[in-house]
């Protein structure tokens, strides 16, 4: 992390050469103005296409609006609907269930895998692994969604394998079954995020002083003890990053679900992102969509800020 703090020496960068010692303050004020000029275009782009829409989302959330006609003020009515209408509140429940898959599996499995392959992190096999494990990170999520939809379909490879090992009884259209659709979508997300988490954790482990491991071995520690006493405590930051990235991916999921299930069957895989899209652009309920959008932002912040605090404090 390059979170260096401000040092007195860099503060001096603000002094212009022509400035006489006595009038030091004036040019520095000029420099501060120039700094604002440098930052202004970025602030303007951010304000125009992110902050302004965010303010408008909050504004829309208090009105009942179909996108065209008049828009009566409904106060917190849309928010009440978000939490009382089972279809809307259900999306939030689904998002949290997806966290188990998108976040839990990649982080826990990633830790186990990374700890096991730590010793060969520099071998040629590891180089090949990087090229392979990053595939889900560099291709469009839509393509991953299509690949998995086919894999999980009734004629897909998953069912073919199950039949081959004598489990023909459990085969089904995984994404079309009321009971398995959400976990199946979760597995796709876990697949997408596992490689990144594994490599991130591995690179964190490579920064741990090998002497620590040697000392532990000399003291007779086994692989498990080693993992819990050395690896885990030294990976706070990387684990925090993995959890943050994957939790946001779960709460704000859209691409995979849009492609794989479109929220169905029934509403079993409907998540907030997709619900916002449908309500705003298909059902023309802009107010409700916006209230859900505000709730989504708050949920992400409520989940992510404590993780940041927890993993940064002691580093």
């Amino acid at each position: 992390m390059t979170g260096a703090t401000l040092t007195p020496s860099t503060e001096r960068a603000g002094v212009r050469p022509g400035a006489a010692k006595a009038t030091r303050r004036a040019p520095r004020r000029g420099q501060r103005w120039i700094a604002w000029l440098f930052a202004a275009p970025a602030i303007a782009a951010y304000a125009l296409f992110v902050l302004a829409p965010m303010v408008r989302t909050v504004q829309y959330s208090f009105y009942q609006w179909d996108g065209i006609g008049p828009s009566p003020w409904v106060g917190f009515g849309n928010y009440v609907r978000v939490f009382t209408d089972p279809e809307l509140s259900g999306t939030i429940v689904h998002a949290f269930e997806l966290i188990v898959f998108f976040s839990g599996i990649p982080v826990l499995l990633g830790l186990a895998i990374a700890a096991t392959i730590r010793r060969i992190a520099t071998s040629r096999l590891a180089a090949v692994a990087r090229a392979v494990l990053f595939i889900p990170q560099v291709i469009p999520l839509v393509a991953a969604g299509i690949a998995w939809s086919w894999l999980l379909s009734s004629d897909g490879l998953v069912n073919q394998l199950l039949s081959a090992i004598g489990l023909k009884g459990v085969t089904r259209a995984w994404l079309g079954d009321l009971g398995t659709a959400l976990p199946s979508v979760g597995v796709i997300g876990a697949w997408v995020l596992l490689g990144l988490c594994t490599l991130l954790l591995l690179s964190g482990m490579s920064k741990i002083d090998p002497a620590l491991y040697e000392a532990a071995r000399l003291d007779g520690a086994g692989p498990l003890r080693e993992f819990f006493s050395i690896t885990l405590p030294n990976l706070r930051q990387e684990i925090g990053v993995c959890v943050t990235v994957t939790v946001i991916a779960a709460l704000a999921s859209f691409d995979i679900i849009y492609i794989a299930t479109q929220g169905g069957p029934g509403n079993t895989t409907m998540v907030p992102g997709l619900e916002i899209y449908y309500r705003a652009f298909v059902e023309r309920q802009v107010g409700v969509a916006s209230a859900l959008a505000v709730v989504l932002v708050v949920l992400v912040l409520v989940c992510v800020l404590p993780i940041q605090r927890l993993t940064r404090e002691e580093s």
Partner: protein, 274 residues
């Protein structure tokens, strides 16, 4: 010693299993893409007669040439401008220590966590009122704004590590701030800028939500957005859909393989910073 060797072997086995699990969906796509167009092939089964022409059919059916051109135009519209704005702002916040930098920086940092879905509705009406719906500008302009939190965060992280002496030396030679920025700081920041360029390219190329909401014509979209439309159109012709998906994901993966070293470190650092 024996224990360690066994551990190394379990490590290798784990790694190979993980790689297999990563590749299998694509192998399945590839094998399916080679079947007779319009059929429902069963899982992993090599066709008696591979239909390589499916790739050509999908290429023309999806207007792949136009799509590539469109995606390149969008990337060219987004990435250079975003890099310039983010570098200048990162310089102001990280090196010039501008007055009031803390609230400004905090405002950008909060944007790091913002789900795009939460602003897509007003963005639609805003772009409509600007008369830009169904043009590539509808993707380009909002993306520049949406990339600012990460861009500024990334470039600030570079500029806070630059010692003030560098600028002071230039000042003594009579360079003003603008000249210092271009002649000294931008060249020194090139590694950070090029890593950021890689990430922004990837996120632009793969952008889906903005593409499907703000642009109806698939040939004006990004590759990912166009694939969504292609799925709607060819969703029932599995072999053709599989061929099309492979064609769409190939460009980014080829570029990844060429610039692998940079990509890996940019992606790992990128997630560490974000």
């Amino acid at each position: 010693m024996i224990v360690q060797r066994r551990e190394a072997w379990t490590g290798r086995v784990f790694l190979v299993l993980l790689m297999v699990a990563t590749i299998v969906p694509f192998v399945s796509l590839f094998v399916t893409a080679l079947h007779q167009s319009g059929t429902y092939p069963a899982g992993l089964e090599w066709p008696s007669k591979p239909h390589w022409e499916n790739f050509l059919t999908a290429f023309t059916a999806a207007h792949m040439g136009e799509l590539l051109g469109s995606s390149v135009l969008i990337v060219l519209g987004v990435v250079p401008v975003s890099l310039l704005l983010a570098t200048m702002a990162g310089f102001a916040v990280g090196h010039l220590k501008m007055a009031g930098r803390r609230p400004v920086f905090l405002m950008f940092v909060l944007g790091l966590t913002l789900p795009y879905e939460s602003i897509i509705t007003p963005l639609y009406y805003q772009i409509r009122d600007m008369g830009l719906l169904n043009t590539r500008w509808a993707i380009i302009l909002p993306l520049i704004g949406l990339f600012m939190p990460f861009g500024v965060f990334w470039m600030r992280a570079h500029f806070v590590t630059m010692p003030g002496d560098v600028s002071e030396a230039a000042q003594i030679d009579g360079a003003n701030t603008w000249q210092q920025f271009w002649r000294i700081h931008v060249p020194l920041a090139m590694p950070a800028i090029s890593s950021l360029a890689i990430l922004l390219f990837l996120w632009t190329w793969n952008q889906f939500l903005l593409a499907i909401v703000l642009v109806d014509d698939p040939t004006q979209r990004t590759m990912a957005g166009a694939l969504g439309a292609f799925q709607g159109q060819w969703g029932t012709d599995i072999p053709l859909l599989c061929a099309g998906s492979l064609l769409v994901l190939t460009p980014t993966y080829v570029i990844f393989l060429i610039f692998q070293r940079r990509f890996v470190s940019a992606l790992l650092q990128g997630s560490l910073k974000g």
